[in-house]
């Protein structure tokens, strides 16, 4: 995992609530057996028309917006546990997702792929979306060390589990950590039966 420290970028607003992982990556694209290339099909059925041509009104097809930060409506990532959703967002180039609420499994999947979900208040989310929609070149800065999100409409602190923060900053993953605890795990197993 690449270490995560500071991201400064423009942002892409997608103010739809309850974006489920079936929208992020539809099931028919889950047949691959590696993690690469899912970005091409990110938001596939919103991004393309029935005839396969790009849907100009969808934000990812707009020339106005770009960046490594996605700002999405409430309850982002609900539904299926498919990590393919996190792979698709990361593969497309997103490093940060901002929303007023994240579904549990998605949040964990994002963090396990070096992507930072930032939860902000509903009110702040609304303000930042309005601002970015009106000023597409506005830049946001995410500092994981200080746990701050700087935006033109104000700077806010965000929460992250201290252990997860450490993993993200150093690019560690849970596997190494769990293996380092194998003596404890073995001892636990021994008293099971």
């Amino acid at each position: 995992m690449t270490p995560f420290k500071i991201v400064t970028s423009r942002a892409i607003p997608l103010p739809v609530e309850n974006i489920d992982t079936d929208q992020i990556i539809p099931a028919r694209f889950l047949k691959a057996t590696d993690k690469k290339g899912f970005g091409d099909n990110l938001f596939r059925d919103w991004r393309y028309e029935k005839n396969g041509s790009p849907n100009d009104s969808f934000v990812l097809n707009s020339t106005k917006y770009r960046g490594q930060i996605l700002i999405a409506g409430d309850n982002f990532g609900c539904g299926s546990s498919r990590e393919h959703a996190a792979w698709a967002l990361a593969d497309y180039g997103f490093k940060v997702i901002i929303s007023s609420f994240f579904a549990d499994i998605f949040k964990g999947n994002a963090l396990n792929n070096g992507m930072l979900p930032i939860q902000v208040s509903a009110d702040f989310l609304k303000r930042i979306i309005t601002h970015v929609e009106e000023n597409p070149i506005a830049e946001l800065t995410v500092n994981l060390e200080t746990q701050t999100l700087e935006t033109p409409v104000g700077t806010v602190d965000f929460d992250i589990d201290p252990y997860k923060k450490l993993c993200l900053i150093n690019g560690y993953d849970d596997i190494e950590f769990l293996i380092s605890k194998s003596d404890k795990i073995k001892a636990f197993e021994a008293q099971l039966d």
Partner: protein, 460 residues
């Protein structure tokens, strides 16, 4: 302060606590399937890490399998490759696989309970969000992402923060025609799709106490649709009777000892939950959904609410429904009875009881997809198959099928499907398809009539 059912099972599985951080939770059973496991196997292979406890893993093929001609080679090359990789990975790592055509093959959340793999007091994970189903046994069971599948492969443990506790109480007597599916659709319609996020839910009250194991599984299955990682129901005599005698269930003295332990699991009377809801059984009626998330549900006799909200309107536009409209009388061309929510024997008994002696409407394509080979056999043995066939229905072979439409079982664009599955997301059952979630009873009635009817008027 007393402990909850969840606390008791959780605490019994904590290996260690990271200072200022998560806990290491031991996993008793790890269920895997073809779609969310290949990348985890690759990860371990690339890092040269062995699988810690292959004996605690059980694999099945379900998400991506055809429901017709399963004896023939799988046509879609990508699906075929995924299934092949699962077989190879299991073989290489000594993992039990109930692959396509095996007498125990089926949807992971149907086959594991019916084989007695699922037992009270366990921790069970699977790379599938509806792992919550197994909570019906008083088990901590939840869905995980593929990175976590790799973690369990490597260590038989997961790093987790203990979730908060939620209890949903439903007491009273259920009305006629109200099934466990209606109970959970009703709960979600009342509390919303993210009321459970960050929580593990316990369902309590006499409605759940009086429910069969199949019904409890239907309820726990949809816990994830209200955002909860999992749902649980306290194990009781119904649970013990269901588990006893199953293939991998304990026997004799072991079983007695287990049951004695399982009896200690229910939440203590003085246990305190972080959040609690109470509902009256009498208020629940047969339900349908009208929107694109499972929280958008109404009683079949109610009208679509009239909210002014962009996401709500987007959802109605997708469904091509209007605010204030009733769904009764809506012509329906597709009906799906299946998925890990409603593909157990009881679901087919219920559908058959309505269908018996009637004819399927000509406009309707109805897919009846059993959850497992064992359910398929039971359907035949109990004589339900002939009821279905005489009424013009076709029974397909087990699998996830049109629940997520990864195989060929797709609902065409713009068509409505009354479905017993758990998700009505845009395009879930096929690009551009529109899903109306309902119970097997409502689905069966829709297939007979070719339109949505007020089921409460058609029950004797």
């Amino acid at each position: 302060m007393g402990k909850t059912l969840f606390d008791k099972v959780w605490d019994a599985h904590v290996v260690d606590t990271v200072e200022n951080g998560p806990q290491i939770l031991y996993i008793d059973k790890h269920l895997i399937h073809e779609v969310t496991s290949p990348q985890a196997f690759n990860e371990l292979r690339e890092r040269n890490i062995p699988i810690a406890r292959p004996d605690k893993i059980v694999a099945t093929a379900d998400h991506n399998t055809p429901t017709k001609d399963q004896h023939l080679p799988v046509k879609d090359p990508l699906s075929k490759n995924q299934l092949q990789q699962l077989s190879e990975n299991c073989k290489e790592n000594n993992i039990t696989l109930y692959g396509l055509g095996h007498e125990y093959n089926g949807i992971v959340h149907v086959m594991a309970p019916e084989l007695g793999i699922t037992q009270p007091g366990m921790t069970i994970v699977c790379g599938d969000s509806h792992t919550s189903t197994h909570g019906a046994f008083g088990t901590i069971a939840f869905g995980i992402g593929t990175s976590q599948v790799a973690q369990v492969f490597a260590s038989q443990c997961l790093l987790l923060k203990k979730p908060k506790s939620l209890r949903v109480n439903v007491n009273g007597k259920l009305n006629k025609g109200v099934t466990p599916k209606d109970v959970i659709l009703y709960i979600i319609s009342k509390i919303g799709t993210n009321a459970g996020t960050g929580y593990f839910c316990e369902y309590a009250g006499d409605v759940f106490e009086n429910m069969s194991m199949e019904g409890r599984m239907t309820v726990c299955n949809m816990s994830i649709e209200m955002g909860a990682r999992g749902g649980m129901i306290a194990p009781d005599q119904t649970t013990f009777d269901y588990v006893s005698g199953r293939k991998f269930a304990p026997t004799g003295k072991d079983l007695e000892a287990k049951i004695a332990y399982w009896k200690t699991l229910p939440s203590d009377v003085d246990a305190i939950f972080d959040k609690e809801y109470h509902f009256d059984a009498e208020d629940i009626a047969p339900m349908v959904t009208y929107g694109t998330n499972p929280g958008m549900g109404i009683k079949i006799t109610e009208h679509i609410p009239e909210y002014n909200d962009a996401s709500f309107e987007k959802s109605l536009a997708y469904m091509n429904f209007k605010k204030g409209e009733s769904l009764i009388g809506k012509p329906i061309n597709f009906v799906f009875i299946g998925s890990c929510t409603n593909s157990r024997i009881e679901d087919f008994r219920l559908a058959a009881s309505y269908i018996k002696g009637k004819r399927k409407a000509d406009n309707v394509t109805a897919w009846l997809v059993p959850g497992s080979q064992q359910v398929a056999h039971q359907i035949q043995e109990e004589g339900l198959l002939s009821i279905f066939e005489n009424s013009g229905f076709e029974l397909r072979q087990p699998g996830c099928s049109a629940c997520l439409a990864m195989n060929e079982d797709k609902i065409p664009r713009d068509e409505y499907c009354v479905s017993t599955s758990n998700r009505n997301f845009e395009g879930r059952q096929g690009q551009g398809s529109r899903t109306i979630l309902a119970s097997p009873l409502v689905a069966a009635a829709t297939a007979i009539e070719g339109k949505i009817i007020d089921i409460t008027k058609h029950l004797n």
